[in-house]
Symmetry: C2
Subunit: 124 residues, 2 copies
């Protein structure tokens, strides 16, 4: 099966709750993860919610990395959506898991855009 | 099982390829989908790639809606990530599916942030 993209769905539990509420830290973390994975950052948008929690997306030339945090549950949902062979989404997932101090995590990989063509190449 | 968020992974195939390469159309489409689902838009970022394809994210107070398109394959990957009972992510998915003229689609729902607490409420 040929897929256009790899999508990692990362569940991070028992994280450092202070970090989960720190917009600047999370922004740096996702940007560093993008670079670490070999991706090219083309934009970002982050928001801090009341009373707590941060949502953020780093747009990369190879798709996106997003995070939504619930500090009150010490939980973060992270998505690493990449296309192309030059990017290592697991490297991004590992770095974010470490930086958030997650004591428990799970990761599901979904192949997106499964095509019948025998030669599928990422045009992005 | 109590989950903090619902995440719809939408695979759209045999779409209108002109629409898939039209950044302004897709921006309007995702914003309309967000509103239709009852979500509050708090930001957006869209990029058009060379030679073709668009990536975009609409940030909503209840999480995000993202799209990555491959016009050359008439394919789009859409994610609708929402939290809270006041948002109807299926409404967003239906509208985007229609607007892109997808002749084939599939949808997977992933419950994100499954917690052991009996009462889980979205704080965002």
């Amino acid at each position: 099966m040929n897929a256009l993209a790899r999508h990692l769905l990362l569940e991070l539990k028992i994280c450092n709750e202070e970090v989960l509420d720190d917009l600047d830290f999370l922004k740096d973390c996702l940007n560093e993860a993008a670079i670490q994975s070999g991706a090219t950052v083309v934009g970002e948008s982050f928001y801090r919610f009341s009373p707590c929690g941060v949502s953020g997306v780093v747009n990369i030339a190879e798709s996106h990395i997003s995070i939504h945090t619930w500090p009150e549950y010490k939980y973060a949902a992270v998505d690493v959506f990449t296309c192309g062979d030059d990017v290592d989404p697991e490297a991004a997932a590992r770095l974010i898991t470490e930086k958030l101090g997650a004591q428990s995590h799970s990761l599901i990989e979904v192949r997106r855009g499964i095509m019948e063509d025998s030669q599928v190449e990422c045009a992005k």
